[in-house]
């Protein structure tokens, strides 16, 4: 009997791979190995509706648990893979089991960065939000009147701030850079979200460096800033980014830098091992990039399934991303890395606008806040390689649909 295709890591990339594998009726058996107890689930709602308590756990599952058995997919959950021996096409689990693979797909994802224990990162009451288990453990502490300190003004921190305010917590958010979202967005987008959060009562403090978290009987009680100022806190969410889970791949001798290096068919430096999703890095427009997004995970997983079914495919997908905070829907298309100017397109209300990013004349990306037209038509405009002038874009009278259709 042929050895199965083995997938390590049960996230969005794995789910997308499996869906396509099944849809293409590829007869090769599949074994999915996951460390958590759950079948592949959606992570984006974790810091939004799931944290808010508005979504049942089962609805996070991308496919119901029974579905895998119905498709004859072997699901091995609660299982950690310890090592891969590419030369033998085998891997070892933590329980000592040795499993043979024909092809291997690594979907090991990324992990939240933590604060060092030396400055209080391991105190009771300090947490990160990445998994169902994280939310299940900490959401009961999100109670009205409690003081939440958020360290890091990225998407996770901002989304959690929105949920916490909706639940009545007092929220202080610390960002050490000059502005929130500095690493990922233009100043105009940061301005929009700073204003949104301040209006909802979040104390947003930029250019503010944490010195250490403070404890009382082993439990978090506050934070000391570099300035010496003390802030009281009952809870602290650390949202300072993630790093790819590459240890397994690295130990197996696969080429890695900040992710597992893959080519245009998501193949690693070993031709029988593929990688998809947050754990992979790849070349795009001459730069090595790594994306933490559903789009990338889903599209890469899908592509590997197509490749293994014999299709001639290359990864060229245009990145997109979204975030929900209060009543604001942020939709992003493209990657703004390398932009040297941007322009604001006003929306129909003062709560809607979009930011268009350019490198010289080339349109790279769009952040659309409550502005789905900019997102939807902007996506078409970028895909078609149309580069409207910033003046055209900034003029609310410009018909984006007509522009997208090349009229």
């Amino acid at each position: 009997m042929t050895a199965p295709i083995v997938i390590v890591g049960a996230g969005q990339a794995a789910a997308s791979f499996i869906s396509r594998h099944v849809a293409l009726a590829n007869p090769q058996p599949l074994l999915l190995i996951g460390e958590e107890s759950h079948p592949p689930y959606q992570r984006p709602p974790l810091s939004k509706k799931y944290l808010l308590g508005q979504l049942e756990r089962e609805r996070l599952f991308i496919r119901p648990l029974e579905w895998y058995a119905e498709q004859n997919i072997n699901l091995q959950l609660d299982t950690r893979v310890e090592a891969i021996q590419p030369e033998h096409h085998r891997l070892q689990t933590a329980s000592g089991e040795s499993i043979e693979y024909d092809k291997l797909l690594l979907c090991t994802g990324s992990s939240a960065r933590r604060l060092p224990a030396a400055i209080g990162g391991s105190l009771d009451g300090v947490f990160t939000l990445r998994s169902i288990a994280d939310i299940d453990r900490h959401s009961p502490e999100f109670q009205s009147g409690r003081k939440l300190l958020i360290i890091g003004g990225g998407y996770i921190g901002l989304e959690a701030a929105a949920v916490a305010r909706q639940l009545g917590l007092e929220v202080t958010l610390l960002e050490m850079a000059e502005r929130i979202l500095q690493r990922v967005a233009a100043a105009a987008t940061s301005d929009y979200f700073r204003e949104l959060h301040r209006e909802h009562g979040v104390e947003v403090r930029e250019s503010t460096q944490l010195a250490r978290l403070l404890e009382e009987d082993g439990k978090l009680c506050g934070a000391e800033l570099e300035s010496g100022e003390i802030i009281a806190a009952d809870l602290a969410l650390v949202g300072i980014g993630g790093s790819a889970n590459i240890e397994l791949a690295q130990a197996a001798g696969l080429d890695c830098n900040n992710g597992i290096r893959v080519n245009q068919i998501c193949q690693t430096s070993d031709p029988d091992i593929f990688a998809a999703g947050d754990c992979s890095c790849f070349e795009r427009n001459g730069q090595t990039i790594r994306l933490e997004s559903v789009q990338n995970a889903a599209d890469q997983g899908d592509l590997v399934a197509r490749h293994l079914a014999g299709e001639d495919v290359r990864y060229t997908a245009l990145p997109w991303f979204w975030s929900d905070q209060y009543d604001c829907k942020l939709q992003i298309v493209g990657l703004n890395q390398g932009h040297n100017h941007s322009v604001i397109r006003p929306g129909a209300s003062d709560r809607s606008r979009s930011i268009w990013y350019y490198r010289d004349e080339e349109l790279l990306a769009i952040d659309a806040m409550n502005e789905p037209k900019s997102y939807a038509f902007g996506r078409k405009i970028i895909e078609a390689g149309i580069n409207p002038s910033p003046q055209q874009v900034a003029d609310p009278a410009t018909d984006l649909k007509a522009l997208a259709l090349g009229r």
Binding site: R59, Q295, P372, Y375
Partner: protein, 106 residues
């Protein structure tokens, strides 16, 4: 509970009983309906759960809001008058017997 039927372009059909309150993108993926992906989980950012609603049923599937209306411009197969994003259709007794035609991207 509502019995929903998805009709594919090749004439094949999938029928399933769907619990009230679930959206029909979730129901489609759970029942292996091809070409319904629902990448964004139903938050109106991907337009990968496009369906054509049987005209007799169209009015019963509810209002199309501005965001859905815009996102319908992004579908792989061009929208028609009876297009919906199925993540925005919520199962209820009202929809028992609903027929959805699933477009097949090239």
């Amino acid at each position: 509970m509502a019995t929903i039927t998805w009709k594919m372009e090749d004439g094949s059909e999938i029928t399933a009983d769907v619990k009230n309150g679930l959206n029909l993108m979730e129901a489609a993926t759970a029942n292996n309906v091809p070409h319904i992906e629902g990448e964004c989980g139903g938050c109106l950012s991907c337009a990968t759960c496009h369906v054509f609603v049987d005209p007799e049923w169209f009015a019963k599937t509810g209002e199309i809001d501005d965001i859905e209306d815009t996102m319908l411009e992004m579908t792989d197969v061009e929208r028609e008058d009876n297009s919906r994003l199925s993540c925005q259709i919520i199962a209820s007794e009202e929809l028992d017997g609903l027929i959805l035609n699933v477009p097949e991207p090239e």
